[in-house]
Structures are given as structure tokens and as C-alpha cells.
């Protein structure tokens, strides 16, 4: 005979405004094995938890049922509560009467109360049959894979490396740094981006705990927390970084010219090139796609001129196999492809550029080598590819308001004669120091106009651009001519994310960015154990938020690895030897090869390896004799729940 305590939560009205919680508690109190049934405003509060603890003692409860929110929300809290009273955490059952009852059924209070009774009854039925399972301890090492070497990946690598964890930082490009290497200054403090980033980049290869794998791609990931097996391919750069002195002699002679991606295609580079001025590793690379001389050795101009003999055409792709315990995804973003928004003429009109182009123009302007003329009348168009159902992106990109505020005032201050307009939908200056920074831009004379630009029209002779805008504050239609139009493009998920995310089965939110386990309380975890998110891979954000999230992801990873062992759920499979007929159906159904048939004499019996079993329950569903069972989800428990529901 079980001794069950049932607690029905009001959730401060979230539940009790729809469901008659007193009626549910009274109903539960009538059930066999239920010793006490109560209702309480906040079961998850100290008061609520104390109530459970006291009752366990006073009424010698051995099972606890909590009708409240989703077990995915507060399940862990209540498991800890009963555990602290000396019971197994697996004798606690929750009835989800909030997310799956009061919230979606707010219009049907009577039916919702009936449903809440059923859900509570189902939880009681399961609790009756709960066993006192104990968490199992599993060994775990201190190795982390970080995918993506933008500022997020760099920060996470440094945090973990400094804390003594072994880090493999994999970056697909020849240099780490990501988008931040391209920026001019950073809002709202206007620090020079390269100046604050390059010391951090330089810290990476000298950290003894970090193994930096640039120009590398993750080809395959298998396994689980504590045992992820990763296959990486490192592409050849054909230049030995130890010998390359970055003299630039090869670049002078190389005949192969291609658009320079670091300069957003505003300039060209050679097939042999330094990825960017602050590149780490600081070494030249041959981009084999554009090189004229690889197969057969037709050119070799760079080889001939390279004095230190750094060039080696005999390099091959290298396969690297590693095993890690946890993984941080930091594959970042890419900017919205502005050609998708045809009405603004990007790619068609030569004087329509993106904000990233403008970042590069400002960097070169400051260095006295302008890449192109900007003219005097400059317009920024906000929300290009953000908050726009037509292009399929409803989300706000968060940073465009502030980078336009930054770029516009940098332009204005460097030449006060310039006429600069920012056309916005809403101006969102939400962060620390942002509103003040926006005021400063206004004070400097940048004109902020509220209105969505309908169209950009080019004068085919002068190449000047006319913007048609309705000023939504004054209701005037503005038609005005500009020398240059800058599109404040939004942030989209990086094309490099999908492949790796699919290997790990991380889900995506509707905006296409990777989804966190809980938006409030687990913002850097994923639902995959031991896999974390850092930076813009999770959604658009600025540098401070990216760095904060990277440090958060590191500390979440450390939390799992630090003790050398972690608690794994004991919801594994068991086999009843007396019933098992040795048919081996379970063996073939197990995705983790966790089951073996033991033969002794003429008896064949299935045996589950607890360390390998991940607890899917597939074998229990397949077993024809009912010998295979999954802890906490035994067939008789599921059947008891059905009976209670129907």
C-alpha cells in the first residue's frame, strides 16, 4: 500500500482562475492510497516545498503527486524536494494542469476542471507503481568541442581553456574572429572593433589547453554527453604558418584575382592571401578554388618567389578524430541577402550598399584609403530583411537600429557637411547606454525619420537615388534624392549551422535560429544533453550579449564536467530473466547496442548494459514476452494511466 500526498497548485491564478482547484483536491483525496490532498497558491515556492517536506515526515508519505505546471518546467525542482526528504526523486509525479489544461482550455472551465481531475488521477495511478529508483553516476571527462570561431566561440574557448578544460575550437574559415573582424567601431562606446578583438584572437593559439583547428569542418558527430565522437576535416592551406613571414611577396606575383569576401567584394584579393589584417593564425592561405597552379603545377609563381620556402603544394586534407564530453555551438549568423528585397535595388543600382559595406568603407576612410565615394546625401533604410513577412523573416534583428545610429554619426562627425537620414519603422534603443547614444546622433545632426521606404528609384544618368517614404509621424509623403543608400540588413542563421545542428538533432525556433531548452531559465542549453549555444547562433544579438552568452555556455558545460562524473537518469531498461525467452528482438531494436544475449548452458537471456542504455524504451515496446521493461515507464504504469484517463 502506497501512502500518497497530492498537491494542487493555483499558480497564482494561472491555474485557479480556470480550474476549480479545491474540487480537484477533494477529488484526489477520495482516491485509494491518497493520505492527504491539498491545494496551495505556489507549490514551487519555499512555502509549497516546505509543505511537502513536512507532510512527508508527518504523514510518512512515500509518493508525491503535484498537479501544477509542466514537468519540463518545474519537474527538477520537485524531484529535488522529495529527494531532500530522503525519498527517491522518481516517486514524484506531476500532473500538467497548466500548460496542458488551464492555458489551452481557458474557455472551457468546466471541462478543464474535469480534465485536471483525470490528469491528477493518471499521475496518482502512475505514482502507485513508482519504484524508488536511484540516479546513476556516470564518468565524464573535461573535453569540449566548440564549433565556430567568432567572438562567441573565442570567448567560450578562452573561458574553458583558462579553467583547465581541453578545448577543440573548429572554424571553417582560415582565420578566427567571425563578423567582428569586419566592423569599424562598436556601439555604443565606439571602441575600434579590431583593436579590442585582436588581443582576444591572439590569446587563443597560445593557450595551452586550446587546440585551434581553422579551415576545418565537422564531418560527423556520433554519441552522447561524455562521449561525443567527432570527425573533423582540416583543409590544406598550402602555406606553412611556421615559415610564412607575411612578407606579401607572393601576393605581388599571383595572377589570380577574385572578389575579397573580407571587404564584402568591394575590392579583390589574390588566390594567395592573408584572410584579414588581424588574422589568427597569422599566415597566408592559398584558396585552391581560384589558384591557377595546383593540378597540374601550371603557375608556381608564389612558390618561386617565397624566400622562406613556406609554400608547399603537397599538403592534403587531414582527417582528425576526437572524443569530447560536451559541445558548444557558436556558428553565428550571416547578413540578410539584400537582393531578395528587389524594391531597394541592391545588386542592381551601384549606389545601394549594405551596412556591412559601410563598415568597411568607414574603416578604410579612417585609414585614408576610401574604397569608393560616399557622396554627401546618405540614407539608411532600416529593417531590411527583418520584421518583414514578405521575405519570410518576422523577427527583429535587434542590432540594426544601433549599428545605423553608430554608422550615421560616424559619417556625420567625420564630415559635418553630410546630410544623413535614417528611415526607420521603430527605433529600438533598448540596451545600456543605447538611448543616450541615439540622442548623441540626433545632437550631431543625423535626421531620424519614422517611415517605411516603399521603393528606391535610380536616375539612370546621374545614378542618384530617389526614395519614396511616408513619414508616419507627420503623415507627409517624402520623395527625396540621395547619393548613397545604405541598407540596414538583418541577421539570418549562418548557412554553416544546419549541417552540424542536424548531426546533433538540435531543434530550431520558427525564425530558423537554434532553439534554447527554455527561453527564460535555460537560455544557453539545448534539449540535447551536453550541447550548448553561444552567440548569434541562438538569435540576433550584439557583442556584449554574445560574450555574456558564451561565458554562460562555458559555465553550463563546466557544471557538467567539473566533478568528473554526472548524474544520469536511471530510466534505463531492465529484463526479467524469468520471462525472457532469449529471442533477441530487443537486441536489434536498440539504437545504442546496449543489449546482449547471455548464454549459459541452454538458457539465453537478454542483458542490458546500464552505461550504454539511454532509456528510449524501444526494447520494452518490442519485447513479445514483456520481459523487457523501462524503469519509470513500465507497461503496467502506462496501462494504469490509460485506465485512469478513460
Amino acid at each position: 500500500m502506497a501512502r500518497i500526498g497530492v498537491y494542487v497548485c493555483h499558480c497564482g491564478g494561472n491555474i485557479s482562475e480556470v480550474i476549480d482547484v479545491k474540487e480537484v483536491a477533494a477529488f484526489a483525496g477520495e482516491k485509494s492510497d491518497v493520505v492527504i490532498a491539498k491545494d496551495e497558491t505556489h507549490m514551487c515556492s519555499d512555502v509549497g516545498q516546505q509543505l511537502i517536506l513536512n507532510d512527508i515526515k508527518e504523514h510518512k508519505l512515500d509518493k508525491v503527486v503535484i498537479a501544477a505546471c509542466s514537468p519540463q518546467f518545474q519537474g527538477a525542482t520537485f524531484m529535488r524536494t522529495v529527494e531532500s526528504a530522503g525519498l527517491s526523486p522518481y516517486v514524484m509525479e506531476m500532473a500538467n494542469i497548466r500548460e496542458q489544461c488551464s492555458w489551452p482550455h481557458f474557455d472551457f472551465p468546466k471541462d478543464a476542471t474535469e480534465k485536471a481531475k483525470d490528469l491528477t488521477d493518471m499521475a496518482i495511478a502512475k505514482a502507485r507503481l513508482d519504484e524508488s529508483l536511484k540516479k546513476k553516476m556516470m564518468p565524464i571527462g573535461k573535453r569540449v568541442l566548440i564549433v565556430g570561431g567568432g567572438i562567441a566561440g573565442i570567448q567560450a574557448a578562452l573561458d574553458l581553456g583558462d579553467a583547465g578544460f581541453k578545448v577543440y575550437l573548429v572554424e571553417k574559415d582560415p582565420s578566427i574572429g567571425g563578423h567582428m573582424t569586419q566592423l569599424s567601431r562598436t556601439f555604443p562606446t565606439e571602441d575600434c572593433a579590431a583593436c579590442i578583438l585582436s588581443p582576444k584572437m591572439a590569446d587563443v593559439p597560445v593557450n595551452p589547453n586550446i587546440e585551434l583547428l581553422t579551415y576545418s569542418e565537422v564531418k560527423n558527430i556520433e554519441g552522447f554527453l561524455g562521449n561525443y565522437e567527432v570527425r573533423i576535416e582540416k583543409k590544406p592551406t598550402y602555406v606553412d604558418p611556421a615559415k610564412c613571414t607575411c612578407c606579401d611577396d607572393c601576393v605581388d606575383v599571383c595572377p589570380a584575382k577574385v572578389p575579397n569576401e573580407y571587404e564584402e567584394g568591394l575590392t579583390t584579393r589574390k588566390a594567395i592571401y592573408l584572410p584579414n589584417p588581424i588574422a589568427v593564425p597569422h599566415s597566408y592561405v592559398i584558396d585552391v578554388e581560384s589558384c591557377l597552379g595546383q593540378v597540374p603545377l601550371a603557375c608556381t609563381k608564389c612558390f618561386d618567389v617565397c624566400e622562406p620556402g613556406a609554400i608547399n603544394y603537397d599538403q592534403y586534407a587531414e582527417e582528425i578524430n576526437i572524443t569530447v564530453d560536451t559541445i558548444i555551438m557558436a556558428t553565428g549568423f550571416e547578413i540578410f541577402d539584400a537582393t531578395q528585397k528587389a524594391v531597394y535595388g541592391f545588386g542592381k543600382y551601384e549606389n545601394v550598399i549594405t551596412a556591412m559595406d559601410m563598415e568597411r568603407l568607414i574603416v578604410h576612410g579612417a585609414e585614408g584609403s576610401p574604397l569608393r565615394a560616399t557622396g554627401n546625401r546618405i540614407a539608411f533604410i532600416q529593417c531590411v530583411g527583418s520584421r518583414d513577412e514578405q521575405v519570410g523573416n518576422e523577427n527583429c534583428s535587434r542590432i540594426c537600429c544601433m549599428y545605423a545610429t553608430k554608422l550615421s554619426q560616424l559619417l556625420k562627425r567625420s564630415d559635418p557637411k553630410r546630410d544623413i537620414y535614417v528611415f526607420y519603422t521603430d527605433l529600438r534603443a533598448y540596451g545600456k547606454g543605447f538611448e543616450e547614444y541615439y540622442k548623441r546622433a540626433q545632437g550631431d545632426g543625423v535626421k531620424f525619420i519614422r517611415g517605411r521606404v516603399a521603393e528606391v528609384i535610380e536616375n539612370s544618368k546621374t545614378k542618384k537615388l530617389t526614395l519614396k517614404v511616408e513619414d508616419t509621424l507627420t503623415r507627409n509623403i517624402i520623395e527625396s534624392e540621395f547619393d548613397l543608400v545604405v541598407l540596414s540588413v538583418g541577421l539570418r542563421p549562418n548557412g554553416g549551422t544546419d549541417k552540424v545542428a542536424n548531426m546533433l538533432r538540435i531543434s530550431k525556433s520558427p525564425d530558423g535560429f537554434l532553439q534554447e531548452a527554455h527561453p527564460k531559465f535555460r537560455p544557453v542549453d539545448t534539449l540535447i544533453e551536453g550541447v550548448f549555444l553561444a552567440g548569434t547562433v541562438q538569435g540576433p544579438k550584439d557583442i556584449p550579449d554574445t560574450v555574456a552568452q558564451a561565458s554562460a555556455a562555458s559555465s553550463r558545460a563546466i557544471r557538467l564536467m567539473n566533478k568528473g562524473e554526472y548524474e544520469a537518469e536511471p530510466i534505463t531498461a531492465t529484463v526479467d530473466e524469468d520471462i525472457c525467452c532469449g529471442c533477441a528482438i530487443c537486441v536489434s531494436t536498440c539504437p545504442y547496442d546496449a543489449i546482449k544475449i547471455e548464454v549459459s548452458g541452454d538458457r539465453r537471456v537478454a542483458e542490458v548494459n546500464e552505461m550504454l542504455c539511454k532509456g528510449c524504451g524501444s526494447c520494452a515496446a518490442a519485447c513479445p514476452s514483456g520481459a523487457s521493461q523501462q524503469n519509470w515507464f513500465k507497461t503496467e504504469q502506462l496501462r494504469a494511466m490509460l485506465s485512469a484517463a478513460l
Partner: protein, 137 residues
């Protein structure tokens, strides 16, 4: 068996995708008809066809099995096993004369609250028309 005037639908959800999706529908306050009861397992591959039959036997008007999208199962390929098992079961049910609409298999990701609501509401609508199950098994 309890009162049989309203539809009674059992929804099996896996912990990782479809259960989280069901919670998502609630968080977004999407209105769903209150005639379903969810049973959570870790993976849809825990759902053995006999359990579904038992649900019908005990008076369910309909059963919905929801897993992660194919390729997204938390345990590699669990939902492919579910797909095979439930499709086989559907054939058996047909032989008993049980209407196809009474057993639905579908996939829901953790972020698809609206899709969860749509699938459950569609099932409730279809099954309200059919009424309680009357076949004796």
C-alpha cells in the same frame, strides 16, 4: 469506464519534441478542445501497439501518437520504428472495421505549438463526427 458523452482522446507524446510542442501551445494560449489526455514517454518508440489497442479497449474514441520529426528523434531512429509499428497497426485496425481517423500518427517539433493544437483539434473534430467506438475487440 467513465461518462462517454464527450470525445475521449489519448495523445502519446515523446518527451523531447512533441510534449514540448504541446506545452508550447499552452504557453501561447492557443485554444484547444479539452477532450484529450496526454501520456508522456521518453520516445515515441516506447509506444507499443498493444498499448494503443488497450486504449481503444478501455474506451478511447481516438488515439494520437506524436513523435519528433523524422530524422530528429532524440534516440537516433526511434520514430522510424514508431512509423513502422503504427502503420502496421492501422492495417490491423482496418480489419476490425475501425475507422482510419481514430488513430493518427504525426510529428511535431518542440517549437510547433500551433501545429500541435491544429492536429489535436482536427482529430477531435473528425472523431466527434464518428462518435464513440463501438467495435468489440
Amino acid at each position: 469506464m467513465k461518462n462517454n458523452s464527450n470525445p475521449k482522446i489519448i495523445v502519446f507524446c515523446c518527451n523531447w519534441c512533441s510534449y514540448a510542442g504541446a506545452d508550447g501551445a499552452g504557453v501561447a494560449r492557443i485554444k484547444i478542445k479539452p477532450y484529450f489526455r496526454i501520456i508522456r514517454t521518453m520516445c515515441s518508440s516506447r509506444i507499443d501497439p498493444e498499448l494503443v489497442l488497450e486504449a481503444f479497449e478501455k474506451g478511447a474514441w481516438g488515439v494520437v501518437v506524436l513523435g519528433c520529426h523524422l530524422g530528429d528523434c532524440h534516440y537516433k531512429n526511434g520514430n522510424y520504428k514508431t512509423l513502422r509499428r503504427i502503420n502496421l497497426l492501422k492495417k490491423t485496425l482496418k480489419q476490425f472495421g475501425i475507422e482510419d481517423e481514430r488513430l493518427r500518427l504525426d510529428w511535431i517539433s518542440a517549437s510547433e505549438g500551433a501545429r500541435f493544437a491544429k492536429i489535436v483539434n482536427e482529430t477531435v473534430d473528425a472523431i466527434e463526427k464518428l462518435g464513440p467506438l463501438e467495435v468489440k475487440m
